[in-house]
Amino acid sequence: MDLTLLVDYGPALLRGFGVTILCWAAGCAIGLALGFALMLLGRTGLKPLRWAVRAYIEVIRGTPFLIQLFLLYSGGPVIGLRLEATTAGILGLGVYGSAYFAEIFRAGYQAVPKGQVEAALSLGMPYGGILRRVILPGMLVSTLPAIVNMMAILTKETVVLSIITVPELMYEMQTMAAETFATFETILGMALFYWLLVEAVSRLGRRAEARVTRFLTHSSNARA
């Protein structure tokens, strides 16, 4: 066990970690926005649109990210879509996440008590305003844990980006492994880095959760 390697390769690993975080954050942002849009599309009265959204979600959820990313990156040029690796990685991650986020949002939308929307309607509020001011905050309360969970899952999917040469953490780790054949150090290093990221995400998530639910009083219930 030669942990000085982690020091020698430190700068490269940190750079890779930076790229991982960047791709993850950008992918999540795209996934959340796209997922929200998909949820709204799925609620329209147009049947074909609803089916299209359903099909999109089922296909994306039903296939591994590795295969999607490969088909996007290497298959894309066949149909004239030529993306640079990092772009493809972020886009792929966003598309992959969007299917899951759309489902989370769908459940969240349904969980907003109908009466809250009716109250807004009966006051004459426009749909855009209702969505932004009533539904969205209500959705966050019930979906934030699931959103954070999904974001934590996506941190781990970023390792797949290495196969299309995005210079993220896994890619740098494999360089280290290939050049030194120091495999155990690599495994431990990766465990540490990814654990840190997920732990940070869930901590931030819990804070955010406390924030969006600050208006709820917590009744103390006697335990069973």
């Binding site: 008590p113 009466g115 809250q116 009716e118 109250a119 807004a120 309607l121 009966s122 006051l123 004459g124 509020m125 426009p126 749909y127 855009g128 305003g129 932004r132 001011r133 009533v134 905050p137 209500g138 309360v141 969006v212 208006f215 709820l216 009083t217």
Partner: protein, 272 residues
């Protein structure tokens, strides 16, 4: 998103036009016929109470009046204006924007209060002022404060709904509605979800509104309120209006057997 400043429609003061006029309205949910051929007139500044057994269609009728529920047959007019449909012959449903204009003048108070839990009492009241009436934030907040004061809740302005008792929540819901200066307010069992101790404070606010000349349609099980405050009482039974008139007549002079039985049960349970 700034709300569009829409041209203020001044209340028409022609007392000849009834505030609400319901003519031959019918409504089914699938095979379940919930309203059958309802006729009802509510004049300006009148308080009409709807009473009747559970499932008789009281909520459905009320919700048809502001088109939260689509009615199938007949017509409902508010201040002479047809609700939910175009006047032209093959009737077509109004667009969302047209519906919004209609609903601006019709307030609604729900059994479950339906406050927005992530906004304080003040924000709940100010929100629609900003979004619908296009007021700027400062003006909306000032107006909202006055409304909270009117329902006796000035000091709870910054509390979230979860921190308020049921009675206080319902009073905030009423403030939210009257802030919009509606011509008509619909109440759907506004006190049914309240602890008995808290009913009084909400009824008092409603009494004050009635005294100020507000037109109100109230679905309620509070017979005392109906007897003392209502100008007219309508008894609904299985989707029909089985009795209608001043409270004295309906409560004491009607021969309608279902109504008599309804009142009988009520008496028995509450006498001691």
């Amino acid at each position: 998103m700034p709300a569009m400043t829409e041209t203020e429609t001044k209340p028409r003061l022609d007392p000849a036009v009834p505030m609400v006029s319901v003519r031959g309205v019918g409504k089914s949910f699938g095979a379940n016929v919930v309203l059958r051929d309802i006729d009802l007139t509510v004049n300006k500044s009148e308080v009409v109470c709807l009473i009747g057994p559970s499932g008789s269609g009281k909520s459905t009728l009320l919700r048809c009046i502001n088109f939260l529920e689509v009615y199938d047959r007949g017509e409902i007019r508010i201040e002479g204006k047809l609700v939910g449909y175009t006047e032209a012959a093959p009737r077509r449903q109004l667009s969302n924007r047209e519906l919004r204009d209609l609903r601006r003048n019709v307030g609604m108070v729900f059994q479950q209060f339906n406050l927005w839990p992530h906004m304080t009492a003040l924000e709940n009241v100010a929100e629609a002022l900003i979004q619908v009436r296009g007021m700027d934030k400062a003006a909306a907040v000032a107006h909202a404060r006055r409304m909270l004061d009117r329902v006796g809740l000035a000091e709870k302005a910054d509390s979230y709904p979860a921190r308020l008792s049921g009675g206080q929540q319902q009073r905030v819901a009423i403030a939210r509605v009257i802030a919009m200066e509606p011509h008509l307010i619909l109440f759907d069992e506004p006190t049914s979800a309240l602890d008995p101790e808290l009913v009084g404070e909400v009824l008092q606010v409603m009494r004050d509104l009635a005294a100020d000349g507000m037109t109100m349609v109230v679905v309620t099980h509070e017979m005392g309120f109906a007897a003392n405050v209502a100008d007219k009482v309508a008894f609904l039974d299985r989707g029909r209006i089985a009795a209608f008139g001043p409270p004295r007549e309906v409560f004491h002079e009607s021969g309608e057997p279902r109504l008599k039985q309804f009142l009988q049960t009520y008496h028995e349970r509450n006498s001691f």
